[in-house]
């Protein structure tokens, strides 16, 4: 009888299903969140650092990325912002919007993707955070871990409607993961950025 139980136990353990890793990391997961109060047709201009993006790294110092990856993704964002009708200006020309691009490695940036259907109920969602304009402000909801995926984050800040303390609000954020799992991270990141704007058609000028 013990042999029979062992055979059945081995059989059951072998039943735990799992898709091939390659099959599920063909493309980036693209999540976008917009502030309900944002009126994207009220903005006309934006500022964006071209060819340079920020990076957060758990356990090492944060830095900037200036390479072919930052070149490709920053220009992909610029293309989509231009296509939406916004005009790129310098920070000194008082843009309505600021666009930040960040590659985050080793942080649990946002584990609570929104429910694709009502069946998928996980409490908690991305909360809109206030931050000081102009910097890559730390995210209060991140947890460092060696196991966390690499996120490409594009965020748009509203510089036109500052609060009384001169703080600005994120009006749109795109999360794309896992960049490091991609066979061609540059091409897939550009695809991800394009998809983020496709699924956010409300980002457009009047």
């Amino acid at each position: 009888m013990r042999i029979a139980l062992c055979v059945i136990a081995i059989f059951l353990l072998g039943c735990q299903p799992k898709p091939d890793f390659e099959a599920r990391v063909k493309d980036l997961v693209v999540r976008t969140v917009a502030s309900p109060s944002a009126n994207f047709s009220s903005y006309l201009s934006y500022s964006l650092a071209i060819d340079t993006i920020g990076t957060y790294r758990a356990f090492t110092r944060d830095s900037m990325i200036v390479d072919e990856y930052s070149y490709a993704v920053s220009r992909a964002v610029k293309t989509n912002m231009d296509k939406a009708g916004y005009k790129q200006v310098t920070a000194g020309q008082h843009p309505d919007l600021a666009v930040n691009i960040v590659l985050s490695r080793g942080y649990l940036v946002d584990q609570t993707f929104p429910s694709p259907n009502y069946y998928f109920k996980r409490p908690g969602n991305y909360n809109y955070q206030f931050s000081g304009y102009g910097g890559y402000s730390p995210y209060p909801y991140i947890i460092p871990s060696y196991d966390n995926p690499t996120y490409l984050i594009v965020e748009i800040l509203d510089l036109k409607n500052k609060d009384a303390q001169q703080r600005v609000q994120f009006v749109w954020t795109a999360f794309m993961a896992d960049v490091d799992a991609m066979l061609d991270p540059i091409a897939k990141s550009v695809e991800g950025i394009n998809q983020a704007f496709v699924q956010s058609r409300y980002i457009k000028t009047p």
Binding site: V7, P17, P19, K26, R31, Y119
Partner: protein
């Protein structure tokens, strides 16, 4: 076939002595096809990856009691698409799984024990364990839960062989389990299943 072979070995290893009367007691094993009946927005496909094994002992000519164990893997693949929700938009490809295990005590009433074709109806009650998992990119949220399962079932047993010492069995069963998963939206777990298998009564006769 590999799973069936393993099950046959498991039954043979049990080393239980059987009476010569083909209906005093019997084992059965076979395939269990299953379809979820609730929370079908998560998974709504037939599962052919299931099996059931059981044992029955006669109480009288019409009534048998025993124990069943069954397991099934339900799965569904959602190709990459964009989901628009009130909390944001998401583009992803999903691989969804529920693996269910049930162990039940069963009682069955056989309507025609003297005939080769013997219809029956019965009820089972026992424990259910489910593991739920979702895979998208590198993200793998999982959950699991225990519950009490109730299983009404009806079917037929058809005896075969010169001495009618073996046969085939087919039955429809409806399983309701209290196992829940708030994460995946299961307030309970209900399935409709169809099982077909082989009945053996005298594999291990000892003179």
């Amino acid at each position: 076939m590999k799973r069936l072979a393993i099950l046959i070995v498991a039954v043979m290893c049990a080393g239980v002595a059987y009476a010569q009367n083909s209906f005093d007691r019997y084992f059965f094993f076979g395939s269990d096809i299953m379809k979820p009946m609730n929370n079908t927005t998560f998974i709504n496909t037939f599962s052919i990856k299931g099996f059931q094994v059981g044992y029955r002992e006669r109480i009288n000519d019409h009534f048998y009691v025993g124990v069943d164990f069954n397991s099934s893997t339900l799965s569904e693949h959602d190709p990459r698409q964009t989901y628009h929700t009130s909390s944001g938009d998401l583009t992803a490809e999903f691989f969804k799984y529920v693996v269910t295990y049930n162990t039940t005590l069963a009682g069955e009433y056989y309507f025609s024990p003297e005939k080769r074709l013997n219809p029956f109806a019965g009820l089972g009650i026992g424990a259910n364990y489910n593991s739920y998992s979702l895979f998208y990119n590198v993200f793998t949220p999982k959950d699991s839960g225990w519950g009490v399962v109730f299983r009404p079932q009806a079917g037929v047993l058809y005896k075969l062989g010169q001495e009618q010492s073996w046969g085939v069995i087919a039955a429809v069963h409806y399983d309701y389990s209290t196992a829940r998963s708030d994460y995946f939206g299961y307030s309970g777990f209900t399935t409709l299943g169809f099982r077909i298998g082989v009945v053996v009564t005298r594999l291990f006769d000892k003179e």
